[in-house]
């Protein structure tokens, strides 16, 4: 039943998309072996999927397992394909769509370098305090702040620092975990 497809007057895959793209966070449990990141990233580029953010680190040293958090934007049908295609990769153990499965916690860390003197410097510290950003390095003309939180909070912090002498920013990308007692 092709109820979800509207005639587009064209053919094959060129059908009018009916659903809007959604932002989803996926958690992927993999064997930490050489080339695994290239497999994941290669799959996204080969099949034309988006990656908004990708973080990876070994989370179980004994078994050599890594958790990869991928944030992607896609329509529901494509999201399903992304999950299934990831599961097809041999070293992939599990793929969870955290967004679909309910509330999840998402956090990101940023290091933000701000340079300035005089009144700006005081204002910088005041805002950092409000955002609970830590000063991790300081010189007479600069600070480096470490800030953790939702991406939106980090975006806001960066926006406020912009006029006060923002020099550069590095961000880790998003790590996410499901709420409650269950595990992946």
């Amino acid at each position: 039943m092709n109820t979800n497809l509207q005639p587009s007057g064209s053919a094959y895959f060129i059908t009018k998309p009916t659903a809007e793209p959604e932002r989803h966070t996926l958690s992927v449990l993999v064997d930490n072996e050489p080339g695994i990141l290239a497999r994941i990233a290669g799959l996204f580029s080969a099949r034309g999927f988006n990656i908004d953010s990708l973080t990876v680190s070994e989370t179980n040293h004994e078994k050599g397992r890594s958790r990869i958090t991928v944030v992607t934007v896609a329509r529901p049908k494509v999201l399903r394909q992304i999950k299934l295609q990831l599961e097809r990769l041999i070293p992939v153990h599990k793929v969870h769509d955290l967004t679909q499965e309910g509330k999840c916690l998402e956090r990101e860390l940023a290091l933000v370098k701000v340079a300035g003197k005089g009144e700006n410097r005081v204002e910088t510290l005041r805002i950092a305090d409000a955002f609970r950003a830590q000063v991790v390095d300081a010189s007479t003309s600069s600070f480096i702040f470490e800030i953790t939180g939702k991406s939106s909070k980090i975006e806001q912090f960066i926006a406020l620092m912009m006029p006060l002498g923002l020099v550069e920013v590095v961000r880790t990308g998003i790590s996410a975990i499901s709420r409650g007692s269950s595990k992946m």
């Binding site: 039943m1 092709n2 053919a11 895959f13 059908t15 497999r39 097809r88």
Partner: protein, 586 residues
């Protein structure tokens, strides 16, 4: 129990333990230790190819005709890159291959050493899985795992890249006791019983059902073809198949509608379009099958049985997905169908079968024969007639001749038709025929070829001569890249840009120069005798069958059209059929 041996010896030992009898390969610097190990044993026979692409297609033909894993051995660098086309072909058509490649010694990896390439990097997206073996301790496990991954679940190619120092290193060989106990790879073989029961309920209620089968039936083993026949017999449903599934259901059956899709029969495509229930068994709703997606089988409920979950719902919405091995699920369907009391075999006098008979009467495969020139369709029919009582395997290249073979040759058994479906690799058929003949030395193995495709891997004819493999290359020579020419006629005002096969070799002399036999025929009256000459000759034959030059492959669903908008054989001016939007499609 473990034994000390070198990495190269482990390779041969693992192949032996996997019951491999033949491998297809080409030596080079980075695989010399393995070739030395080959020299010192008699269990595994090595077929020396002329180009590594040929080795991969031979292994594909070998695998597809036997159900076993095809094994390829190539050297580093160009050896590996030459194998890429065949690996990709095997991935798209789900053919189990293990390709062992040599690599420069581990200390040199990444230094742009002589004949170095990043084999695992290059093959990552054209294999089911791949490995770079950095330690001798990992080699036995990886070799056996490669066979398990290649052959289980949805089959596919696996590359094992072995650096030369690992081939020389000594280590303990062992055969893993339970290779199917992989930590993360666990293909689902048995379908959900509730879903199968629901499927049977839908089948019992359906008024206009159709079984749409594909290569998954072939991959599921000969038993799956038996089960399919039983299911069709039990239900009375009409059966159609993709290119990859031909032979799983006998073409001689009354319930057979012929192949579906772009060059499928009128009855198969119309039945798909009008069906109220499509039972897809091991096929994947490829774009050659569906045509215009938004007009594909608009009023049908769709059941999709597939071992690969990602195939389900990829392009077409599926109402009832069933994940698992085709044979297991068909057997369950049969069992549940028999248990039901309200089951009712679809009678051949039903409204649906009457409708199908009307479509059949259109005779969409009709063509105008000629006394003067050989029509390609006629040539295939005569070939079919000549071998119908023989143990025959057919391979093809890619193009018009491939579609004509699918349309006019009758396949009644599985594993008898080897063709490049997904990737559409010209040059597949000749080496594939070599691989099939290696596996079935006494069978008749024919490559139905085109004069353009066959030149892409022509040199493997010499392999056939060397190993006394009596393959028959039946070239439908129309002096055009026929399918390209047909599309240029369809879409580009018959401006035949670069599609004329200029400066063709004299195929008869070419065959003789390589040590085989050449036959030429351009007279329909002499065709039968010429085919008989070909079959009687105990050795490789190149048959140059001169056919009419501008024959079109019809019927056809033009790009951008639906199943019920087919071009039938009497359409003279095919150049006006496709609209602007359809032209951008392939």
């Amino acid at each position: 129990m473990s034994e000390q041996m070198s990495g190269a010896e482990m390779v041969l030992r693992a192949l032996k333990d996997q019951n491999v009898e033949h491998i297809f390969g080409y030596p080079g610097g980075a695989v010399l230790p393995i070739y030395d190990a080959i020299f010192q044993q008699d269990d595994i026979k090595h077929i020396l190819v002329r180009h590594e692409q040929g080795a991969t297609h031979m292994a594909e033909g070998y695998a597809r005709s036997t159900g076993k894993v095809g094994v390829v051995l190539v050297t580093s660098g160009p050896g590996a890159t030459n194998a890429i086309t065949g690996l990709t072909d095997a991935l798209l058509d789900s053919i189990p291959l293990v390709c062992i490649s040599g690599q420069v010694p581990t200390p040199l990896i990444g230094s742009d050493a002589f004949q170095e390439c990043d084999t695992v990097g290059i093959t990552r997206n054209c294999t089911k899985h791949n490995y770079l073996v950095k330690k001798i301790e990992d080699l036995p496990r990886i070799l056996h795992e490669a066979f398990y991954i290649a052959s289980s679940g949805r089959p596919g190619p696996v590359v094992v890249d072995i650096p030369k120092d690992v081939q020389f290193a000594m280590g303990d060989y062992y055969k893993p006791s339970n290779e199917s106990d992989h930590k993360s790879y666990k293909p689902q073989l048995n379908g959900d019983l509730g879903a199968i029961e629901e499927a049977v309920n839908l089948m019992i209620r359906a008024e206009k059902p159709i079984l749409y089968t594909g290569g998954g039936i072939i991959n599921s083993g000969k038993e799956a073809s038996e089960s399919l026949r039983e299911l069709a017999e039990l239900t009375g449903f009409p059966v159609t198949s993709t290119l990859m599934g031909l032979g799983a259901f006998p073409a001689k059956s009354d319930q057979w509608l012929g192949m579906l899709g772009m060059h499928g029969t009128y009855e198969a495509n119309l039945a798909m379009h009008d069906a109220d229930l499509i039972v897809c068994l091991g096929a994947r709703f490829d774009d050659r099958i569906t045509g215009r997606l938004d007009a594909f089988a608009p009023n049908s409920t769709k059941i999709h049985v597939d071992i690969d979950p990602s195939s389900i719902g990829k392009t077409v919405h599926i109402d009832l997905p069933i994940i698992g091995d085709c044979n297991n699920i068909i057997l369950e369907m049969i069992r549940i169908w028999r248990e039901k009391t309200n089951q009712n075999r679809l009678s051949s006098s039903s409204v649906w079968w009457k409708q199908i008979e009307e479509w059949r009467d259109v005779k969409s495969l009709r063509y105008e024969n000629s006394d003067e020139v050989i029509k390609p369709q006629f040539a295939i029919q005569r070939l079919n007639e000549a071998v119908k009582d023989k143990d025959t395997y057919i391979t093809t290249e890619v193009g018009q001749h491939q579609m004509w073979a699918a349309q006019y040759f009758q396949f009644n058994e599985p594993n008898r038709f080897m063709t490049s479906g997904g990737l559409g690799t010209m040059g597949y058929g000749l080496p594939a025929a070599v691989g099939v003949q290696v596996a079935h030395p006494n069978a008749v193995v024919i490559d139905i070829a085109g004069e353009a495709s066959v030149q892409m891997t022509m040199q493997e004819f010499s392999t056939a001569v060397q190993f006394r493999l009596p393959i028959k290359i039946f070239i439908l020579n129309n002096e055009y890249m026929g399918m390209v020419r047909q599309w240029q006629q369809l879409l580009h005002g018959s401006r035949y840009s670069q599609s004329y096969s200029e400066s063709l070799p004299d195929f008869v002399k070419l065959a003789e120069a390589m040590g085989g036999k050449g036959i030429r025929c351009d007279d329909p009256a002499k065709l039968d005798d010429a085919i008989q000459d070909m079959l009687d000759y105990d050795g490789p034959v190149l048959f140059d069958c001169r056919v009419s030059k501008e024959e079109n492959c019809l019927p056809m669903i033009p790009s951008g059209k639906a199943h019920n908008e087919m071009i039938l054989p009497e359409t003279k001016d095919i150049g006006n059929v496709i609209d602007e939007k359809g032209k951008i499609l392939v």
